[in-house]
């Protein structure tokens, strides 16, 4: 028996009001006039599918009932689902695993190539745990979908990620059955090396694709578990096509009230992550024990998974989750900033942005992977001083012992601002550049970049937490460097 035992999510802080997108395009296409409702999540310039995956995984693993990453000795697999991973050939799941200190003898894999990659990853994990192949697996769905300016996707998509922990036993949601239907129905595609999707007519996708393929998979999973469609309490089926989920529910006999919030008004559609995002969102509200949950996702076929809620699902786990992150959002109507962050407009960045110093010494990246990806510093076993980075000689002027430091990760440590400035001179895609010294509550400090920070928000003593972010991009060679940055703690986050 396998079940989902913990959940978590990440939604970037920035929300772009759809009215700003609509206003920008009305001049050329009057139909945008009626499309300015709600808002969508947009990643900051230093966020991508990997950084969001790390944060969703931390939310899933760090709080509540699930063990922290260090304690996850039984976690033996990490599945990363996305079609917008930054590396085509360098395992992206390996980066996420290292950032979480989950590298080593564990199975890590990228699952990609279809909008149902998220549910496929979940299904694979459930099958592995149901069998003798895995004890505990982390499934992360993440997407930052590129969209052409003035496309339907620009309005519909949202950037985000969700993570689910799968393990032996009933969990919060016990896995009852799963079915995969594979059909090469090309509703849209993105050729290898292409920047954007190419999409066919919506009515054809709905009538010939979704309405035909999804019910088959749903009916098959219901039959497999011996459950009537009318007994389903919650039906999760993401689609950017209006009323597609209602149509499927109606055709198979699932009651209308089983359809929950698809988050299009507040978040947008997160691609491969969205089924997992909606599932996390559902679990965050607490579920009636015994409730039946059906999750389906469409993409060159359909995955359908059936679960039953246990007693443990009644109370929320205290994750930040989708709800927590939505509450921490900052709405913006700065469409130009969105274009700039996503490299959709050619900006004059000034000569300071020209420096070609972004070639990365990969031998250094490897040698220091625990420092750079897992924020691992040292703890002196002689004087107890925490320090970053870890070095051969203790930084404490009163100690100075040689070769005494054991690894210590600052990833989850609380910190506060010691010094700061907002710098308008340095080139950064989101000026001004905020940086300064932070000190960790239990010791240790370093000069860090701040991100997701508003002008005037920082002060000496401001509490911050660490987040995994893009440090810089090497456009010439297509490499992305990751490191950790400090973000002010806000609201229920604090």
């Amino acid at each position: 028996m396998a079940g989902i035992s913990a959940y978590g999510a990440y939604v970037p802080r920035l929300r772009l009001a759809r009215s700003a997108i609509a206003a920008a395009h009305q001049w050329s296409d009057p139909s945008f006039k009626g499309k300015g409702k709600g808002e969508r999540a947009i990643a900051n310039w230093d966020e991508d599918a990997i950084t969001m995956a790390v944060e969703a995984a931390r939310d899933c693993l760090a709080h509540g009932a699930a063990p922290g990453p260090e304690a996850s000795a039984s976690l033996d697999a990490l599945y990363l689902a996305s079609t917008t991973l930054p590396f085509a050939d360098r395992q992206n799941a390996g980066i996420v695993a290292t950032a979480l200190s989950l590298d080593g003898q564990r199975r890590t894999l990228d699952i990609t190539g279809s909008q149902r990659a998220g549910t496929t990853a979940l299904l694979e994990a459930l099958h592995a745990v149901s069998g003798p192949y895995s004890d505990q697996a982390l499934v992360v769905g993440t997407d930052k979908r590129p969209a052409k300016v003035a496309s339907a996707g620009e309005l519909a998509y949202g950037d985000g990620a969700a993570a689910l922990l799968v393990e032996e036993g009933e969990g919060l949601l016990t896995f009852l059955a799963g079915v995969t239907e594979t059909t090469d129905f090309v509703d849209h595609f993105r050729g290898a090396g292409e920047a954007f999707d190419y999409t066919w007519e919506e009515r054809w996708i709905r009538d010939e694709g979704i309405s035909q393929i999804v019910p088959e998979a749903v009916n098959a999973v219901l039959a497999k578990a011996g459950v009537e469609a009318s007994a389903i309490d919650h039906f999760i089926f993401p689609s950017t096509i209006g009323r597609a989920a209602d149509g499927v529910a109606k055709s198979v006999g699932i009651k209308a009230e089983a359809l929950g919030d698809n988050l299009s008004a507040t978040l947008g559609e997160c691609g491969t992550a969205h089924a997992l995002v909606m599932l996390s969102h559902l679990l965050e509200g607490g579920l009636k024990p015994g409730a039946l949950v059906l999750v389906a996702a469409f993409g060159q076929g359909c995955d359908a998974l059936l679960f039953r809620a246990t007693e443990a699902a009644a109370a929320p786990q205290g994750k930040l989750g989708v709800r927590g992150h939505l509450a921490l959002g900052k709405t913006s109507d700065n469409y130009m900033q969105y274009l700039a962050f996503n490299d959709l407009v050619t900006l004059e960045k000034g000569m300071r942005a020209e420096r070609d110093d972004y070639k990365t010494a990969l031998s250094v990246t490897y040698r220091k992977r625990d420092m750079l990806l897992a924020l691992e510093g040292g703890k002196c076993t002689q004087c107890g001083t925490l320090q970053f980075p870890r070095t051969d000689i203790c930084v404490n002027p009163q100690c100075g012992a040689h070769h005494t430091q054991e690894p210590h990760s600052f990833r989850d440590s609380k910190a506060s601002v010691l010094t700061w400035s907002a710098d308008y001179l340095t080139y950064i895609p989101n000026p001004p550049s905020h940086y300064g010294m932070i000190t960790f509550e239990d010791g240790g400090r370093f000069m860090t970049d701040f991100t997701d920070v508003d002008v005037g928000e920082l002060d000496v003593g401001t509490p911050v937490k660490m987040m995994f972010r893009i440090k810089s991009r090497d456009g010439l060679r297509g490499f992305v460097r990751y490191f950790w940055k400090a973000v002010p703690q806000r609201g229920q986050d604090a």
Partner: protein, 399 residues
């Protein structure tokens, strides 16, 4: 402590190019300009030099690496030339090499020359630095103003100073340096400014505005040193000797250990203490006649007043606003305009500071001449508040 070098080395001659946007000159021409003045002042020719130390920071936009650029530009007589680089304190490092060579007896006459040609980048301000293959992967994205602006946040928190009061003191510092620089025909920036101009200038890095930042200038400065005996033999009058020369470098504790509060320069305090000891100075506030400090940014000057033990801790704002460091004040500071207005050609700045102290002690400072100064001090700093090189040098009339 070691016996030190007090009065073992004399300044035989000094020279300094005009600082500024020297579009017409390269580093080579600037070096020659400073060198010729120094030779003339010393009353020697190049064949009498035994060795030279050459300081420049950005070799990539200046003249390349090594000692060859100096040896070649000045056609030196095939003597040893060593290039030194220690951030913005590089000039003091070149001076230290020449002074120690003479003090040791290895050389009779040695040259220290620093140069920086910054205005060949195509934009204002300093180019960024990489800091190596590892630092590039994690060090915060910063600029010099942003790094030094960090001091303001910690200083305000520690001493309970409002942003408004701090900004007023910083404005006074810049107004004073502009007034001084206006009297210096070699200075880069020669226009006086008002407190309102300083307060309302465009923001560079909170809370530092445009007038809180020093000039980015081209320039060179040179110093020829020898023993007091040889200086006397060569007919030098009013001989100025080195009283103390101390450097202190961060070892990572400010950046990595929670014992530092971010509001002061740990190294400046150490270098100053050692320099006063070497020079035999017991009460700096009473004994130092004048000084040039590393005013790369107004806030650096403010906290340095305290680090040099000239103002009490937390007392610099009051001293600054009282005019204690103005040209007419008790201890005039940046009499030549400082980095702020004379300018900051990085590799030259440490020697430029000595140039003004030397002129003042030689009673040759023209319209800026102070009344009978005895002890002049320079403070030359490189790096950032959390990791830096601090050099303190004290010179005065030979005893």
């Amino acid at each position: 402590m070691a016996r030190g070098i007090k009065d073992k080395v004399a300044i035989l001659g000094m020279g300094c190019s005009r600082f500024g946007e020297r579009w017409e000159s390269g580093a080579e021409e600037l070096m020659v300009e400073a060198y010729e003045e120094a030779l003339l002042d010393a009353g020697i020719d190049g064949s009498q030099l035994d060795a030279a130390w050459f300081s420049t920071h950005y070799e990539e936009i200046n003249v390349g690496k090594g000692g060859l650029p100096l040896a070649t530009a000045l056609r030196l007589p095939n003597i040893a030339v060593t290039r030194v680089e220690n951030f913005c304190a590089s000039g003091s490092e070149a001076f230290r090499g020449a002074v120690y060579a003479v003090a040791s007896g290895a050389c009779d006459i040695a040259l220290a020359l620093g140069v920086e040609k910054l205005k060949d980048t195509g934009y204002g301000g300093l180019p960024g630095s990489l800091g190596g293959t590892l630092n590039a992967q994690w060090a915060a994205t910063g600029s010099a103003p942003g790094n030094f602006a960090q001091l303001a946040s910690a200083y305000r928190a520690k001493h309970g100073v409002s942003r408004k009061d701090l900004k007023r003191a910083l404005a006074h510092i810049s107004v004073k340096s502009h007034a001084n620089g206006a009297k210096n025909d070699k200075a880069h920036l020669r226009k006086p400014i008002t407190e309102e101009q300083a307060l309302n200038a465009p923001m560079i890095a909170e809370p530092l505005g445009l007038f809180d930042c020093c000039g980015v200038s081209d320039g060179a400065a040179a110093c020829i040193v020898t023993t007091p005996e040889i200086a006397k033999q060569l007919g030098k009058e009013r001989i100025v000797t080195v009283k103390a020369l101390q450097l202190s470098l961060s070892n990572g504790s400010e950046a990595g250990h929670n014992s530092w509060d971010g509001s002061y320069f740990h190294t400046t305090r150490i270098a100053a203490r050692k320099a006063y000891e070497e020079a035999g100075i017991k009460k700096p506030r009473e004994e130092v006649s004048m000084f040039e400090c590393h005013d790369c940014f107004s806030v650096t000057e403010l906290v340095t007043m305290e680090d040099l033990q000239l103002s009490a801790e937390g007392g610099a704002i009051t001293d600054v606003l009282d005019g204690f460091y103005d040209a007419e004040g008790t201890i005039p500071c940046q009499i030549d305009g400082g980095l702020k207005c004379f300018g900051h050609p990085i590799g030259a700045s440490g020697i430029r500071m000595l140039y003004e102290m030397y002129l003042q002690l030689s009673h040759r400072a023209g319209p800026r001449q102070l009344d009978a100064p005895r002890i002049g001090m320079t403070h030359n700093l490189g790096g950032s508040p959390m990791s830096n090189v601090a050099a303190v040098c004290i010179i005065g009339a030979a005893e």
